[in-house]
Amino acid sequence: MAETVTINRHNYQITDAIMERQLLDWLREDLDLTGTKNGCNIGVCGACTILVDGAPRRACKLLLKDVTGKDVITIEGLTPADGSLHPVQQAFVDAGAIQCGFCTPGMVLTAYALLKKCPQPTPADIRQAIKGNLCRCTGYQQIIDAVMLAADRMTKQKR
């Protein structure tokens, strides 16, 4: 019996045959959603971070059966339909938070989830939130700047 998973607002049928597939591999290979990266494949680096029902999760540690009936957002699903950037993405661009970019999709989603929960975080809150996302290029400084900038802009937008 097939079950359903929602990926970036599209529904997919998950047959029994693929229930045991790794979510990361399936996203990248079958759906060509290659924005979700594989940096370690053991759940340590955070490059594969996606949102499952709004919470950051590691796609390399999940099987398809773990997400049936759930709502999954990958980096490709964060961008509004008009092709503009989500404020968190725009802040990453503006703050210079992107170098090689390999950690970026996971970082952005982690930051997005943080700001949902905690719209005005301190730098220390941000460090805690992203500590599971490794970045070898930036020293995290401009990533933290980016999240602060996004928080600022998003709060102003709401007002």
């Binding site: 053991i42 661009v93 090689c100 970026t104």
Partner: protein, 781 residues
């Protein structure tokens, strides 16, 4: 706030950027490497049969299938694309299994059996040159990869002139680059017979040489294109090129496109590392605290293959005395073969090791002479027109060492905060320390090799611009820097310039994007190309408008007569006239590095044509109960010449400081008898956001007359001095010197408390070296 800009930001932040493993194409099959569980062994037989019968398998290939040359190397051709008769380290690949899917290839990879005869392994570099040492490469007749030396002045005269002499042994660890993206490559054979490579590698031209050699093809028959790269830091040269060569081999043999994507475990097992060093230093100061001599002997573990060990260790000799004037120097460095994982280029390239030593020794020596850490540096540091240890006079650019140091000390409020240092105070709940380090660094390749680069600017009839250079985007933002330079010199909006990621078939070999030479060399070529375009446009304007301005000014899309400030035409008009008058607005620009010189015998010469100067400082605290280090604040200043893209530049500062922090405190590729224990990020720790403090980047700009863009490099300078700065701060927190990196501070009680020092009234230390290094002496005793 001025917002950052880079040309690839949108693609990366939306997840659309296609890295090597993201590439898909019809008929793509997948290869995986096969290793033998040996460190040093004779490889007697490989049995591919069971693997060959496994579902989906298309081929199992070994060294015997290589049509070209099995071994390759940038300096010594000692590194096999696939191991043939011998295994020399745990990372050697003995076979490749190709299958329709990656999962099938993985399953089959485990089925490849081999017969080996273990040989005794050499894993201690100190034993490598013993007369009875086993030879890693018998045909070379020695385990010595290379040696370099510097001889300047007379060390024994320097010793006689010294009042205070210290000696110390300093060691550094083998570390892993830890680029977030493991190696990956896609290879295919085109209908025209050209082998096309798309891979995550930082040097397409070196990759092309590896591939052409492996397949026995002329260079022109291999086309290598870089993909967006998930980090390199010097680490995606040899190993990444080998991965490309293996993908190419499989594609060549099967006539199908082949992808190889490394797992983190394979990457850590096989990829080269930063060289661990053992350094024995002796340093003498006269009564005034001036350095009279430095004697140093260094040993670098090169591992199983040469890679670029001769170049890495060369830089260590040139910079062996740090940023100080030393009249008498005797320096020897040797790199040796062992059966350990091999070592090669890594951001810093032979300088992080020597800086870790010298930037602590200068303080230890200063303390003996009764001088605090600021005074001893000021007394000895290189200044305008100083002569370096290799006899090079530092002129023709601004020697800004004093300037960068003063900026950092002021920013971090060093002198005031210095008074709060704990020096292991037994009463204290927490130990506070502050420290800094300074460095100078030779830019680009120096006497390592020929150094030139090119850029192509092609302006389209509508005034939009295509730009390419021989510099490779490693993630650092080099493409953006090139675009900004071209926009500035052509006086047009940056958004009209499209950077074309060049392939080895579209632009000449510009050397590898290493040595922080991207902006300097590529930027130099871009500026040259802009000048050529300006001259062409100038000639057209003179003909068209019958005017003869002495100088043209290109600004904001218009062209002016500089003297009268009269607007002559728009940039687009001028381009239109070019096409009308049969003049292509196209230019091939070149930048050739100014001449350097080197005498290998004496180790004397003008090693680099220009230098950068830097200082980094850190505040930290140590929890005495646990030895835990908490970083509080970091500040860096570097003289970059000209800041082309300030936000990206600051990013280089922060990234380098973070990497230097990992080096100081916890990074070490652990291995046992040549077999890696560190295998992934759970047992190889790199800094996390919570390990790091807020950082401040101070950009100092003294434009360099020898650089057409005025800019120098920044990637490496930022990563060569945070470790000694942290070591110095830890000394002032704990009262103990740590000469072995990575540093794990002792807990309270593990060592005696040291007297508290003051900046203004420093006490004469009794030498702060650990017991084992107690060869130091004070002559007057």
């Amino acid at each position: 706030m001025k917002y950052a800009w880079r040309n690839d930001a949108f693609a990366k932040v939306t997840g659309r950027a296609r890295y090597a493993d993201d590439i898909k194409m019809p008929g793509l099959c997948h290869a995986v490497p096969v290793y033998a569980d040996a460190v040093h062994a004779r490889l007697l037989r490989i049995d591919p049969e069971a693997a060959g019968k496994s579902p989906g398998v298309l081929g199992v290939f070994t060294a015997a299938d290589i049509p070209g040359t099995v071994k390759f190397g940038q300096i010594i051709r000692d590194c096999p694309t696939l191991a043939g008769d011998k295994i020399r380290c745990h990372g050697d690949v003995i076979a490749l299994v190709v299958a329709e899917t990656r999962a099938q290839a993985m399953v089959a990879g485990d089925l490849v059996k081999c017969e080996i005869e273990d040989l005794p392994a050499l894993t201690d570099p100190e034993q490598a040159l013993a007369p009875d040492a086993i030879l890693i490469h018998a045909e070379l007749g020695t385990n010595l990869v290379n040696e370099h030396s510097v001889r300047r002045g007379d060390v024994s005269a320097g010793e006689t002139a010294s009042e205070y002499i210290i000696a110390a042994e300093v060691t550094t660890s083998r570390i892993e680059h830890s680029y977030l993206e493991p190696e990956a490559a896609v290879a295919l054979v085109r209908p025209d017979g050209v082998v096309e490579i798309h891979g995550s590698m930082q040097h397409p031209f070196s990759t092309r040489r590896f591939v052409a050699s492996t397949l026995g093809l002329p260079l022109a028959q291999v086309e290598v294109t870089g993909t967006p790269m998930g980090g390199g830091f010097g680490g995606k040269d040899d190993t990444a090129a080998l991965v490309c060569a293996r993908a190419a081999l499989c594609a060549w043999l099967l006539k199908r496109p082949v992808k190889i994507t490394y797992t983190r475990e394979w990457s850590m097992r096989e990829s080269y590392k930063r060289h661990p060093y053992r350094m024995r230093y002796r340093m003498g100061l006269d009564a005034e605290g001036r350095i009279r001599f430095v004697y140093v002997d260094m040993l670098a573990d090169g591992g199983a293959y040469c890679s670029v060990s001769p170049w890495v260790t060369w830089r260590s000799t040139v910079q062996c005395c740090g940023a100080y004037e030393v009249p008498n120097v005797h320096c020897d460095v040797r790199a040796v073969y062992t059966n350990n994982v091999f070592c090669g280029a890594m951001r810093g390239f032979g300088s992080p090791q020597v800086n870790f030593a010298i930037e602590q020794l200068i303080e230890i020596a200063g303390q003996k002479a009764g001088l605090d850490e600021i005074t001893i540096r000021r007394r000895n540091m290189l200044q305008q027109d100083s002569v370096t240890v290799t006899g090079q006079q530092l002129s023709g650019h601004t020697v800004s060492l004093r300037q960068v140091m003063d900026r950092v000390l002021a920013e971090i409020d060093y002198v005031n905060k210095r008074q709060n240092c704990s020096f292991g105070d037994p009463e204290a709940e927490e130990w506070y320390g502050i420290g800094f380090a300074i460095s100078y660094r030779g830019m680009s390749l120096g006497a390592e090799g020929t150094d030139f680069n090119s850029a192509i600017i092609s302006i389209q009839p509508d005034g939009s611009v295509i730009l390419e250079t021989g510099i490779h985007e490693n993630g650092q933002g080099s493409e953006s820097a090139m675009i900004l330079l071209a926009a500035e010199h052509l006086g047009i909006d940056k958004n009209r310039i499209v950077y074309r990621r060049s392939s080895t078939s579209t632009i000449p070999d510009g050397g590898t994007t290493v040595a922080s030479r991207g902006t300097l060399m590529g930027g130099g070529a871009v500026v040259d190309a802009c000048h050529i375009i300006q001259d062409k446009i100038g000639a057209i304007i003179r003909r068209k408008l019958a005017v003869d301005p002495a100088h043209l000014l290109f600004r904001e899309g218009f062209i002016y007569d500089e003297a009268s400030a009269r607007r002559l035409c728009s940039f687009n008009e001028a381009i239109g006239w070019c096409y009308q008058m049969q003049e292509y607005p196209y230019a091939f620009g070149v930048f050739k590095a100014p001449q350097v010189s080197w005498d290998e015998h004496t180790g004397q010469g003008n090693a680099y044509f220009t230098w950068v100067y830097g200082c980094q400082a850190v505040e930290l605290k140590v929890v005495p109960k646990t030895g835990q280090v908490v970083l509080l604040n970091m500040v860096a200043a570097h003289d970059i010449g000209n800041a082309v893209n300030p936000a990206m530049l600051s990013g280089q500062f922060y990234g380098g400081m973070a990497m230097g922090t990992g080096y100081a405190l916890f990074e070490e590729f652990r291995h046992q008898d040549g077999k890696g224990i560190s295998s992934n990020f759970h047992n190889y720790r790199i800094p996390r956001a919570t390990d790091l403090p807020p950082m401040t980047a101070i950009i100092v700009e003294n434009p360099d007359p020898l650089s057409p863009s005025g800019a120098k490099g920044i990637g490496e300078p930022t990563n060569e001095l945070m470790a000694p700065a942290i070591a110095n701060a830890l000394y002032r927190a704990t009262g103990k010197r740590y000469l072995k990196q990575p540093i794990q501070p002792d807990r309270r009680g593990a060592f005696p408390q040291r007297p508290k020092e003051n900046l203004s009234t420093p006490e004469l230390g009794d030498g702060s070296l650990p017991e084992s290094d107690s060869t130091d002496r004070i002559k007057e005793d």
